[in-house]
């Protein structure tokens, strides 16, 4: 059961195509776990279909249809892709993006309890996988932009609540928290930030930029 979802504006940004690559990745991966967000995103795509229908048409060039018709015979129907099942329950949309299962990733250490895999960076926007052993703390921080965190394995807790696989946490600006990995198995998250995290401890302040946080 999923308890934490992207808000309506984020789903609309995904469905409308305004969301960037990193944000699209985390929303799509959340939807791999969440039937209700799939249905909501489908509604906002239908809104896109409605807007498309109502746009004043821009005429195509005179020979456009003819040139497209001559190309039809070269085109074979696209086959449905069948892929081997994930060995560690990694959602397919994420596997397509990271090129394998979570267990295939090369994790980089960041202190004794945390490791990460960088996935995407453009300007201030980043996407990465984060892994913490039970009890590992991120360190108390606020946010220079938005921070979206999707749990893939295990879970974490902070002042805002507890998060389990499929849950998506949205934090921004001055909202302060210190996520701690729950007991049991390692916690693995997909994390997207649109601005730097503002850590409180001096050590984290110094070290975080070295790892691109």
């Amino acid at each position: 059961m999923i308890h934490h979802h992207p808000d309506e504006a984020l789903l609309l940004a995904y469905a409308g195509g305004a969301a960037d690559e990193a944000v699209s990745l985390i929303v799509a991966t959340h939807m791999a776990y969440c039937q209700s967000c799939r249905a909501r995103a489908a509604q906002w795509e239908a809104l896109g279909g409605s807007l498309l229908q109502d746009l004043p048409p821009a005429p195509m060039s005179g020979d456009a249809l003819q040139s497209v018709l001559t190309r039809l015979d070269e085109i074979k129907p696209e086959e449905r892709r069948v892929r081997p099942a994930s060995r560690d329950a990694t959602p397919q949309v994420l596997r397509n993006y990271i090129g394998g299962d979570l267990r295939d990733m090369r994790w980089r250490r960041m202190g004794p309890n945390l490791s990460y895999v960088p996935l995407f960076r453009r300007g201030a926007v980043t996407a990465r996988l984060l892994r913490g052993v039970p009890g590992a703390e991120t360190g108390a921080h606020r946010h220079g932009g938005q921070e979206y965190t999707l749990v893939l394995k295990g879970g974490f807790s902070d002042v805002t609540g507890s998060y389990a696989p499929g849950d998506l946490q949205m934090m921004e600006g001055d909202m302060r928290h210190n996520p701690v990995a729950d007991p049991g198995e390692d916690c693995i998250n997909l994390a997207v930030t649109t601005g730097p995290l503002k850590f409180e401890s001096l050590l984290r302040k110094v070290v975080a930029p070295l790892f691109g946080f």
Binding site: G48, G49, S50, L65
Partner: protein
């Protein structure tokens, strides 16, 4: 980019916009109900029916082109991508599921992804049907219910207050995050989000949903 497209300061674009004005008055281009479009797409999927494809092309290619122009694509690129979108329709018609979306919505998603790939040069992580869900998907309703839902959505979209429909449209046509839309309109981000919330709540009521 959007402002550039709207000002249409280049001769080719200006001409395109003039032609758009003429096409708008031609009734035969407008006449295709969602159910008719779904039926044509079904014929393409089952029989590789070229005449059905040509009708879909006549209706949708100019709309896809208009969508791409609104997003700031130069005329020749918008023309190429509109052709590509319709070729994708031919390639993928057998994967179309009328229980999930109307033909227009399906084509919108194709055009959206082509645009992100070609203009923004980013990947579009896209959920595949059947990805991972631990519980089975709810039984799909039929295509008629889906097109009915979209008709209601379309009607209620026209009745939104102007400030609300503006932020909804910009979510589809501006290719920027809501923070930049706020800057463009000169209003706080919170106002953009609250207008969106109001608009989406109204649209959901039109679909007969509680919030």
């Amino acid at each position: 980019m959007l402002a550039y497209a709207r000002n249409a300061s280049f001769p080719a674009l200006r001409q395109t916009y003039r032609r758009m004005g003429q096409a708008w008055r031609l009734p035969q281009i407008l006449a295709m109900t969602p159910d008719a479009a779904n039926a044509l797409l079904g014929r393409v999927a089952r029989e590789r029916d070229r005449a059905a494809f040509a009708s879909l092309f006549g209706h949708f290619a100019p709309r896809v082109k208009a969508y791409l122009l609104r997003l700031g694509a130069p005329g020749p690129l918008a023309e190429d991508l509109a052709q590509e979108a319709l070729l994708s329709l031919w390639r993928k018609a057998h994967l179309f599921d009328p229980a999930k979306a109307s033909a227009a919505t399906w084509l919108f998603t194709i055009a959206r992804n082509l645009r992100i790939d070609a203009i923004r040069r980013e990947k579009r992580p896209e959920l595949e049907p059947g990805d991972f869900l631990p519980q089975p998907e709810a039984a799909a309703d039929d295509g008629l219910a889906r097109t009915d839902e979209e008709n209601r959505l379309r009607a209620s979209l026209k009745h939104l207050p102007a400030d609300q429909s503006q932020v909804v449209e910009l979510s589809f046509f501006a290719d920027k995050p809501h923070s930049e839309i706020a800057r463009q309109l000169g209003i706080p981000l919170g106002t953009v989000k609250s207008r969106l919330r109001l608009a989406l709540a109204r649209l959901k009521r039109a679909l007969g949903e509680d919030e």
